[in-house]
């Protein structure tokens, strides 16, 4: 005890002495410290390291000149990004379908088992057709693309190529008061916004990092792409000749992504000039030498750190959503499922922004995970009891257009709403974990929602003004 007390007294003395001595320090003594360290290091290096004659041709430098050149820099970047996307979409198609088939087979098997044990139908439905089905849907849609996208990205990162992308793109972000590395966190956001927000750690300047976190939601993630692609192919591609249809659909999706980039830059600029103007800021960007990627490490970081991590959170939030969907679809009041009642309640609000009540209901339920928006919507439209993408008896287009009054305006506004609306629960949670601030998290969640309503409302009003919709 006495020992502890005397130690404490000694510590107080040392602190007091430090306080007294601080006044004698020159203002730039930190500069002197760093300079002395570097001078010492240089002296040691000169004694101990022998410089071999520099090679006439430096591969690193040659590659650097190519990937950052005015002519090839940007096209090369776009080609690589497109290649990663193509690999993800093409490669995930088959495993995704297979995985869903297996998981739904498990659902059928599980519910049959429960029935054979004569467990009441509502327990079976709640567990298997509600909770399990939602989790299966999210895993099926999410897992394969992420398992391809993230390793590809990690390889580019490990190679040393990504810092060069940040270098190339910095001019665009500088004007928005942001950091060139935001182009990397945005690209990561295409895989998953939560992973994109975690990736913002690479930005070491606090203000630019917050900007990147708060605007990451404006790039559509994996969970939102299927909705965009579906709408583009039904409403846009169908108006073109078969030869051009797939180009029209792809062009539409690219257009939506560009609108997202536009909003990212506008909102970044607005944030850095208003609420974030007092946050600390500094730009530094190191361009490390190129390296051969370490495959094991790539697999580990991309699969464990990113894929499994994101998936685990998504499953944790999808399960309760599944429970809610099942209750809404199966509990009836006045002979009509609850879902219909809630949708009718939201309908006037939905119509005002060019959508309808069912779509808004789907978005409210899908706050945990955007993957289940379309299945939930179709469930309510068809008066079904479980989420589905199998449209029985009619085509998807006639279900939407003929039975539920969708127009081109509905499709356009749904694409815009999907792009701009509030981030999913996983992303909001990640924002909180990364910023540890309720204030920034609330801003990151609500700002996109307000923007989404404002934009869709404006588009709807203009469309009505010109007689469309």
């Amino acid at each position: 005890m006495t020992d502890g007390r005397s130690n404490q007294a000694a510590a107080q003395l040392v602190l007091a002495r430090a306080d007294a001595l601080r006044g004698n320090l020159a203002d730039d003594f930190r500069d002197d410290l760093v300079e002395a360290t570097y001078d010492e290091a240089q002296a040691i290096a000169e004694r101990a390291v022998r410089q071999v004659r520099a090679p006439r041709w430096n591969l690193d430098l040659a590659v650097d000149r190519l990937v950052t050149s005015r002519i090839f820099g940007l096209p090369l970047m776009l080609v690589l990004l497109a290649a990663v996307f193509w690999l993800t979409v093409a490669g995930a198609n088959y495993p995704s379908a297979l995985l869903m088939k297996v998981l739904f087979a498990v659902e059928a098997w599980g519910s049959a088992l429960f029935e054979s044990w004569s467990i009441p139908w509502w327990i079976t439905g709640f567990i298997w057709h509600g909770v399990f089905r939602a989790v299966a849907w999210v895993v099926g849609v999410m897992l394969p693309p992420m398992a391809i996208f993230f390793p590809c990205f990690t390889i580019l990162e490990d190679l040393g190529y990504l810092p060069r992308v940040a270098f190339n793109m910095d001019w665009l972000f500088r004007k928005a008061g942001a950091h060139g590395k935001q182009s990397l966190t945005m690209s990561m956001g295409f895989g998953c916004n939560a992973a994109g927000i975690i990736a913002c750690r690479v930005i070491d300047s606090p203000r630019e990092r917050l900007i990147a976190i708060l605007t990451n939601n404006f790039v559509p993630c994996n969970g939102r792409f299927p909705t965009l692609i579906l709408l583009a192919s039904i409403f846009v591609a169908a108006r073109f000749s078969p030869g051009l249809a797939s180009f029209a659909a792809a062009g539409t999706v690219v257009g939506v992504v560009l609108i997202g980039v536009f909003f990212t830059l506008i909102v970044s600029a607005a944030l850095s000039r208003t609420v974030l103007k007092g946050e600390a800021s500094a730009f530094t960007l190191e361009l490390p030498p190129y390296r051969r990627p370490d495959i094991l490490r790539v697999l580990y970081t991309s699969l464990i750190d990113r894929t499994v991590f994101v998936l685990a959170r998504a499953v944790a939030v999808a399960a309760p959503a599944g429970a809610v969907i099942w209750i809404l679809g199966n509990v009836t009041a006045d002979g009509v499922p609850l879902a219909r009642h809630v949708a009718d309640f939201f309908d006037p609000l939905g119509r005002t922004i060019g959508l309808d009540g069912v779509i808004l209901l789907a978005y409210v339920i899908a706050i945990p995970a955007n993957e289940i928006v379309v299945p939930t919507m179709l469930m309510v439209y068809m008066g079904g009891k479980i989420m589905t993408e199998d449209v029985t008896g009619t085509s998807l287009e006639s279900l939407l257009v003929d039975d539920n009054g969708w127009t081109m305006l509905t499709a356009v506004n749904l694409m815009l709403f999907s792009l701009l609306h509030n981030p999913c629960a996983t992303t909001i949670l990640t924002m909180w974990k990364e910023t540890r601030s309720y204030r920034w998290t609330a801003l990151g969640a609500l700002l996109p929602l307000v923007i989404a309503f404002a934009v869709t409302f404006t588009v709807a009003e203009f469309a009505r003004l010109f007689g469309a919709g």
């Binding site: 005015r70 600390a280 190191e286 006037p348 609000l349």
Partner: protein
């Protein structure tokens, strides 16, 4: 048309009620506390602004009055009287016929607010890189919202700065103004030029002697002879004799030796492919950016080479001590290098 609008209105109202009651259920207590906190914070801001006004008026030599206080804070006479009564009851100030003056507790509080203000100005200039003319207003808002511990933490994170960006000293945690790092000319070596930075104005009789010698801050002087009996100094071509007791109240700092080398130029003048020696970072670059650039090896004497320019010539990638770093133009401006001979592109 009317029916859908009415319907929309009722939907929105219902939604608002549902959300509000849900929030009230979950956060009710917190909201009440937050509201109470806001009121409390408003009173604190008012009190601190009042103390600061009275403190500054006292420093200028004409004490604050209730009228000047009402004018400075934009308050009605009635609210001003209430505020003065509240502060007087709290033991922070005294009002008398001459005007308002602070008690010692009151001045301590005022000095702490000034300390927070000047530290925030330092932060906003150094770390948030805000233009100097805008920091005062922002610091004015921020000075009220921190506990003493948080202000101490801010001071430590800034590396215990002594002066704010305007050159005013920052009070320490104990309310003392930092010691000026200057020497009295009684301690100054003979024949060495020094610049006057501070004249002690207490006690008045001695200050009168200094003023009579026409010494003002900013002048450069040389001590020709220094003995316990008298000081002989030359300043601006005049030679004068001062008693040491007056000399002890004149403070000088060293004058930088005139630069003999060619003047440095900013790094932005370095063309791609050229290299130069780093002279240093300019004084206006402070805070995180300065530390970062130093850590990256941009210290005096380091050789820096512009390797490649970005798509719109900004940023530029520089090779320093074997590693490649990209700097924006706005930062490269603050890195000073030895002048580069034009047209000479050395590949080193």
């Amino acid at each position: 048309m009317l029916a859908p609008v009415a319907q929309l209105g009722s939907t929105l109202v219902t939604l608002a009620i549902v959300i509000a009651s849900a929030l009230a259920l979950v956060f009710g207590g917190r909201v009440a506390r937050w509201w109470g906190g806001m009121r409390e914070a408003g009173r604190r801001v008012l009190a601190e602004d009042a103390l600061k006004h009275i403190h500054n008026a006292g420093l200028r030599g004409n004490p604050a009055t209730p009228d000047s206080l009402a004018g400075a804070l934009g308050l009605s006479p009635h609210r001003t009287v209430n505020l003065i009564a509240r502060l007087e009851a709290g033991g922070w100030l005294k009002s008398s016929a001459e005007g308002l003056s602070l008690t010692s507790e009151g001045s301590q509080w005022a000095v702490q607010v000034i300390r927070a203000h000047r530290l925030w100005e330092r932060y906003l200039v150094d770390e948030a890189r805000m233009p100097l003319e805008r920091v005062h207003a922002e610091a004015e808002r921020r000075e009220h919202h921190r506990t003493a511990d948080a202000v101490d933490a801010l001071e430590a994170s800034l590396g215990f700065p002594r002066i704010d960006p305007h050159g005013d000293p920052i009070p320490t945690a104990r309310g003392e103004l930092a010691e000026l790092r200057a020497l009295a000319i009684t301690e100054w070596p003979e024949k060495t030029p020094g610049r006057i930075v501070h004249l002690e104005d207490e006690p008045p009789a001695i200050f009168a002697r200094i003023a009579a010698a026409r010494l003002v801050p900013g002048q450069t002087l040389v001590v020709e002879e220094s003995t316990p009996e008298r000081l002989v100094i030359s300043v601006e071509g005049r030679t004068l004799v001062l008693p040491p007791i007056a000399g002890a109240n004149v403070f000088v700092t060293p004058v930088e030796a005139p630069e003999r080398r060619a003047l440095p130029t900013p790094l932005t003048t370095l063309g791609v492919g050229q290299s130069a020696k780093v002279r240093g970072l300019d004084e206006s670059l402070r805070g995180y950016t300065r530390r970062r650039l130093l850590d990256l090896g941009l210290t005096p004497g380091a050789v820096i080479k512009a390797e490649m320019a970005g798509i719109f010539a900004d940023p530029v990638a520089y090779r320093v001590r074997g590693s490649l770093i990209a700097l924006r133009r706005e930062q490269a401006r603050h890195v000073l290098i030895d002048p580069v001979a034009h047209g000479k592109a050395s590949d080193g």
